[in-house]
Each structure stands twice: as structure tokens, then as C-alpha cells.
Amino acid sequence: MSTPDSQGAKSMRTPLGRVRNLGSSHSGTSDFWRQRLTAVAMVLLILPVIVVVMMLLGRNQAGAAQILGSPLVAIILLLFIVASIWHMKIGMQVVIEDYVHGEMVKLAAIMANNFFSVAVALASIYAILKLSSGV
């Protein structure tokens, strides 16, 4: 994420040397790979997730809580939450990097993206674990 200018003042490394091997971000293509990995995971999970949602339609809280707390349903939803939040976090970062050009605004947006993604993931996971423990 650092620009050549911000490093160039102190570093004696050449621009080419900085981007060799894993590139300027030092994480290489890991985001590209994880974006596809989580996408394929969701292709596999989407049918079970649709079945779960259909099972929950028209039920009251007690009925919904019982279904959501059963192990198989909880595991399917947990897998889907991890895959989807990871996928959308990477996707939103790409969108931010494409359209937000001010360095400070971009950093703030990427931070907000991370905060949002982790908060939504943890809240959803907490809710499912609470339903699973039956308290």
C-alpha cells in the first residue's frame, strides 16, 4: 500500500527491487487466490444455505432458534459466514483501491472495510454460537 515516494526517501533499494517476488504489498497473489477459494466454497454452500432459509420461512422465534441451533445447520451457516465475509472484504478493498485515490482517505476506507467485515462476521458467529448453546 505504501507509495514509492514514501519509501524512496530513506530506502536505497531500487523500485524494481521493491516489487520483486511478492510485489510492493509483500502479500503477492494471496488475495486473488482467497477470493477464488471463498467463491468456490460459496458455490458449494449456496444450496444447503437456501434449504436452511426455506426451512425458516414463516416460523416464529422459537421455531427458528431451534433450527438455527441444530449442529448441521449451525455448521453450514458458520462456513458460509466465514467464506462470504472474507470474500466481500477482499472485494470491497479492490473497489476502494480502484476508486479512492487520496492516500489518507484510502487508508481510512480500507480500515473501515476491515472493521465492518470483522464486526459483521463476529456478530453473526456469536449469534449462531449462542443459538447452538441453547442459552
Binding site: V43, I50, L57, Q61, L68, M88, G91, V95, V120, A123
Partner: protein, 132 residues
């Protein structure tokens, strides 16, 4: 510092003839961003189910309202469209489907498939849930 050199820029979007693949490219991104914020709904629903009957009935009141139902319908379409459009991108990532006819078939397939799956899911939802 060296002076900034005015180099020629590549032409922007309005120079090119409008194509379906072009529109689908930006729709893929828009549906992705919509789904990003749509996860708030899913999180709200799960938290409400974990909180109790009062919180859950708030969610149900929202999803059975006109605007709520419209948003959930839109969410369904965004999800189905992004899914099929994503599979299309995955095929391209693997190096297939770049011939003109293959490219068009994949793109039309994702577009029509996304709409069809959305309608089918909502018919199934009304049949199972009785519109509640």
C-alpha cells in the same frame, strides 16, 4: 523533483461501443457492493433470532412490509446474479470461454439465469412459507 511529463492517456469508457459484457462487468461490481451492505440484514436476522421473540418479530415485521420485501427480493437477485456472473468470471480465470459466441453465451446465461433463479426461489418461498 523532476517536472511532471504530460503523457498521452488511454481513452476512457465513452470512446468504446457499449457491449453487454461491459454492462455485466459493472453490474457484477454493483451487486457485490449491494451484497456487502446486505450482510447487515443477515446479521440483524441472526442476532434477533438469538435475542428473543420481541427482536425476531421486529425482523419479521420488516421483511413482511412492502419495502422490506422489496429489499429482500433485490438481495436475492443480487446474490443469484453475482453467483452466476462470478462462475462466468471463474471460467475466464481458468482460460476458457473467450471466443465471441462463448463469451456472449456465458454472459446472457448469467443474466437470464440470475433472474430466473430469483423468480423460482420466490415462488418456492411463497409455496413453503405461505407468504409470511
Amino acid at each position: 523533483m523532476t517536472a511532471r511529463i504530460e503523457r498521452p492517456l488511454s481513452p476512457h469508457l465513452q470512446t468504446y461501443r457499449f457491449t453487454l459484457t461491459m454492462a455485466m462487468s459493472i453490474i457484477h461490481r454493483i451487486t457485490g457492493v449491494a451484497l456487502y451492505f446486505g450482510t447487515l440484514l443477515l446479521a440483524w436476522w441472526l442476532i434477533a433470532a438469538a435475542s428473543g421473540p420481541a427482536a425476531y418479530s421486529n425482523v419479521q415485521a420488516f421483511t413482511s412490509s412492502f419495502i422490506g420485501r422489496l429489499i429482500v427480493f433485490g438481495y436475492t437477485w443480487a446474490l443469484m446474479h453475482h453467483l452466476l456472473s462470478g462462475v462466468r468470471h471463474f471460467v475466464w480465470d481458468l482460460g476458457y470461454g473467450f471466443k465471441a459466441n462463448e463469451r456472449e453465451t456465458l454472459t446472457w446465461g448469467a443474466l437470464i439465469g440470475g433472474i430466473s433463479l430469483t423468480v423460482l426461489l420466490w415462488i418456492a418461498a411463497y409455496a413453503i412459507g405461505g407468504g409470511r
